[in-house]
Amino acid sequence: MLDRLVDTFFNWQVMSEYLPKIVEGFVITIQLALAVVVSGIACGLVLAMVRSFRMRPVNFLIIGVVDVLRALPPLVIIIMFYFALPTVGIKMSAFVATWLALSLVLAAFSEEIFWAGILAVPKGQWEAARSTGLTFLQTLRFVVMPQAVRITIPPLTNRTIAITKGTALGAVVAVGEILYQAQTAYSFSYNPSPLTMGAIAYLILFIPVVYFGRWVETRFAWKR
């Protein structure tokens, strides 16, 4: 019984054979995840700052796009980008499609989080800064955003972890990340051990991130 379990899920021979593939997938997952985090959060931050100018038509546009992106399942967006857009002549690699889709979703969620953070900064902070001659943009940059970002770090970290795990969705369009490598290895070897390795690879990657998130939550808990 135990032998069979080990043979099925922890088959050493299969595991050693496909380890290089899983490592390859590990590297691609990290690249994809980092790219998504950087572009998604940067884009969300810019959108939230643009929104703070309170130009009506622009804000309606931002809110509309953000709501659509938050409502759609990320997998739907990935598949649209990869399979639907080429029919109108927009072609992109599976990696780019996944990166773009997840970045947009993260941008949408982080925009909402940053915006809530900006709103949470008391009006008196704006007034004090403007009364010393700081411009709107300087006030936003040096007074409001540092406080807004600090408030947003815990929810943002959680949301970022959730969306970054979505890199596994890239397997559907054959991005060579961890899940794709594990699944492919599984279908070649008729043995689920590569899937075990894949799961372990995800744990190795995300357990530290989850711990980091918890640390950040306590570290940045807002002192009142």
């Binding site: 008391p122 008196g124 902070q125 007034e127 004090a128 800064a129 403007r130 009364s131 010393t132 001659g133 700081l134 411009t135 300087q138 040096f142 007074v143 540092p146 406080q147 600090r150 002192k223």
Partner: protein, 248 residues
């Protein structure tokens, strides 16, 4: 008081919030080195008047001149004007993510374009004036309310304003902390700073103000030297107000 040109010259100032008319034609001239004290019941428009003077609120009509610059003129560089006008708020509004020195030097660096070294040396001077040089590295949440307000005063002073507006600077303070802020304001007054103070600290007004202005319902009802306004006001409304203030 000399007959020199006023630093602050407000004429026929009107301000409404929606249908609510808050200022109904205010005329106010403040001369150099003068301390003008503004009193009146809450909702009388005192704070709004102050906030119009650096355009935190936009007046509906009237004119405001600071050192003969029309600050309501289209195309006026309001950020340049605001540098010349210090403002101190009821709730201090210190930046919580910066220490005391950071609070005082932010505008020096970003608005005046001074280097960190220049700004910090000016910042320490300003903090020294309010007696808090040793707290330069403390963050607002490590300071008492009175200390926070003194840092806020230093933040306004660091820009070397020609006038400082105080919007109920001691109203949010515990009674035992009020004195430290008032003594800073008194020293400021003795150094010749032009000041407009909205406050309920009548004793301070009596000893430090050159002129007291009583506002009610968006108008200036009466003004004069403190002894006259406090001891022999013309208006029954003021007598009544002073009684309610002194009652507690």
């Amino acid at each position: 008081m000399s007959d020199s040109a006023p630093i602050l010259d407000v004429r026929a100032l009107y301000k409404s919030f929606g249908h609510l008319e808050v200022l109904k034609g205010i005329d106010l001239q403040v001369k150099p080195r003068e301390l003008v004290f503004v009193i009146g019941p809450s909702g009388s428009g005192k704070s709004t008047l102050l906030r119009c003077c650096n355009r935190l609120e936009e007046p509906n009509s009237g004119s405001i001149r600071i050192e003969d610059i029309d600050i309501l003129a289209p195309g006026v560089d309001i950020n340049a004007v605001r540098r010349r006008i210090g403002m101190v708020f009821q709730s201090f509004n210190l930046y919580p993510h910066l220490n005391a020195l950071g609070n005082v030097t932010l505008a020096l660096r970003k608005v005046e374009g001074k280097t960190r070294e220049e700004a910090e040396s000016l910042g320490i001077q300003a903090l020294t004036r309010v007696g808090l040089a040793e707290k330069a590295k403390s963050f607002p949440n490590e300071l008492s309310g009175g200390q926070q307000q003194r840092v806020a005063i230093a933040r306004a002073l660091a820009l070397e304003p020609v006038i400082v507006l105080f919007d109920e600077p001691t109203s949010a303070l515990d009674p035992e902390l009020v004195g430290s802020v008032l003594s800073v304001m008194r020293e400021l007054r003795e150094s010749g700073m032009t000041m407009v103070v909205v406050s309920h600290e009548m004793r301070f007004a009596q000893s430090a103000a050159d002129r007291v202005i009583f506002m009610d319902d968006g108008r200036i009802l009466e003004q004069g030297p403190p002894e006259q306004l406090f001891n022999a006001p013309d208006h029954p409304r003021i007598q009544e107000f002073l009684r309610t203030i002194q009652a507690h």
